[in-house]
Symmetry: C2
Subunit: 114 residues, 2 copies
């Protein structure tokens, strides 16, 4: 099975589906059966503005630092820190301290991120 086979068990780094979300914010995604994995790259000072979606979102910082505001609670996170954002809760992310990489996972699948 190749990386481009939707049934493949493995996807090589960088081979996921690519989307530019906001200025300086892009994702590479791997779509499963009921979850979607998204590696998010932030350039310095980039912003994911306040938004919400019905999908549950969990994730972990891979590198750098990001300021999250979730349901009105603001916290700056670094490598290994995790988040859990229930569906419908408003959240925002700002790259306040240089570039950063985060991993997000959504359930159910975000069809717009396939």
């Amino acid at each position: 099975m190749s990386d481009h086979d939707p049934g493949a068990y493995f996807v090589t780094d960088g081979q996921g589906s690519h989307h530019d979300l906001f200025p300086g914010v892009s994702i590479k995604t791997t779509t499963g059966t009921n979850m979607l994995l998204s590696v998010v790259t932030f350039e310095p000072d980039s912003v994911v503005p306040d938004h919400s979606h019905p999908h549950e979102q969990m994730g972990m910082m891979i590198s750098g630092r990001l300021q999250f505001t979730v349901g009105g609670v603001t916290r700056t996170l670094g490598p290994g820190d995790t988040w859990r954002i229930p569906g419908g809760v408003v959240h925002k992310v700002v790259a306040i301290d240089g570039p950063a990489v985060a991993l997000d996972v959504f359930h159910p699948i975000r069809e717009d991120y396939r």
Copy 2:
């Protein structure tokens, strides 16, 4: 909200629930509403033997290299590589090249990993 509040949006690195799975293999988990995030630490030569579970499992390599065998397909993965293992598919992981760290996510929640 504290890290130990099950409703907290954020969990600081290392503060998740800890489980020793196999010799040299341990996890720190964050439990959400319908997903469970698991940071897996492998010591050199450690093994997660063949097993399966009804939960879908997706994940990404954080550091090091691991040899995965999923549904009879064997591949060595490094940082940024991802996997998607449908429920019920037999899989095995071996730390063939030093220590490694991987991030797994399960849906539905693996109750034994809370």
